[in-house]
Amino acid sequence: MGFIEKLDKLPSQYLWVILLCVSSIAILRPIGLPVVPSSLTRDGYNFIEDLPPDSVVVLDWSATSGYGPELETQCVAVFRHLLSRPLKVIIVSFASEGPLLYDMALEGSKLSGVAVKPEEDYGKIYGEDYVFLGYIPGNEVAFVAFAEDSWMTEKDEYGKPLEELPIMQYCKTVEDWSLAVTLRGSFFEEMIGLWNSAYGLPIIMGGPGVSCPRLFPFYAAGQLVSIIVSVVGSSHYETLIGEPGLGCQLMDGLSLAQLLIVASIIVGNIAGYYKRRGGK
């Protein structure tokens, strides 16, 4: 009983220190735990694989730095997949930090991993195979406005008129879109309602771990093609496209940290049980 009492009085700081040590070891000496893609992620991957050539895919790059690598790694993984396919990729952001994070992905950063080089690595030309329209403010209003008129920005992120970009001839309204991949930290239900329910557009949705349980009913009801859950989803996607990146890199530490927390919950419950029994 002495041990149980000691355990009960142990300051929480000890757990943080152990968590820090375990995660640090996994980062400095990666173990390489296997990453097995879930059907939740695989459905999205397969859907993109089955799209006919020249299909228009809208990639909503609404990542924010507050979610750290959770959303940014998803954006990078999906962007890489779209670039590897003969598709027309329209990138847009409904989050103010989106353009900044898109640039970080092209340049490479600690938040997005190795630089994405569309021309060098995938032979894709800006304005013909992909385009970045920049940040569109307004959330729900912007979702509808952009779906009704994909030329609403008039210029791309770099100030070039849309008439001068050949890819935009494929994309005038939501009627031209074959799929939307929306990776965001908020406005999930609104996006599903306005793009899927109103226009019947297939949607692959990615979100941070804290928000994804809200999305599972939509996936189960067939309103979403797939859900990419946090860094775990990113690592699954990276594995599926055969390009392990930051998502896979973070998985070792994440898995060990999760195991530690599960072990702590079990030990805490056993200690609580014995304490209660001893009290009686």
């Binding site: 729900e140 509808v144 309602g193 329910s197 771990g209 804290v210 928000s211 009801a221 860094v231």
Partner: protein, 222 residues
Amino acid sequence: MVLVDALIYGFGALAIWSLMYRENLGYRIAEHFYVGFAAANALVMGWETIRKVAVTPLLQGNVIWIIPLILSLGWVLFLFPKTRSFYMITIAFVVGLGTALAIRSAISAQIVGQLIGSMHSVASSSPMGLFNNILIWIGSLCTLVYFIFTREAKGPLSVIPKIGRILIMVVVGVAYANTGLGRLANFQGILTNLLTTEAIYAIPVALLVIAIDVIRRRMKTT
């Protein structure tokens, strides 16, 4: 410059994490900086949005943009009692727009879509699909029964709301686990930056400060 950036990042992250040790001056400074920068960023982004969306088109001769600009003044006029009534027009416009969008999206996605999704046949080609369909069917029924308060379920019927309660607990557990997953992913990202960049130089300094504080506090108590 990279070194300076990394050190600011390192000291900032460690100062925020130092709250796990105890409340301290370093944490408060970092917290104030964070809030200040976030407010400044929001202000700049807000102005950029107004300039890009409304002011620039207006100056180019698109006069329709004068309407949202005038309406937006309502938020500021709220501060003055004499002009507060104008604020009501802005609020009415925003509420009306919000309601219209909610009717269009929420009803179809969250009510009709979910009902259709729950009312499909239990039959499936795969055993796992069959199991999932049965689970959805039982789960929907039991959870709905749990929220019927007009009559208390007694006897054998009391099992149904109990199953509903267990299923709600499972869903809440999944949400909690996912929250933990998300927070840990953020933690891993920051820790990776700390350990693999020049930010690592901030760690011994932070450890030294904590060690000095521990010794100082022990000396005080003895």
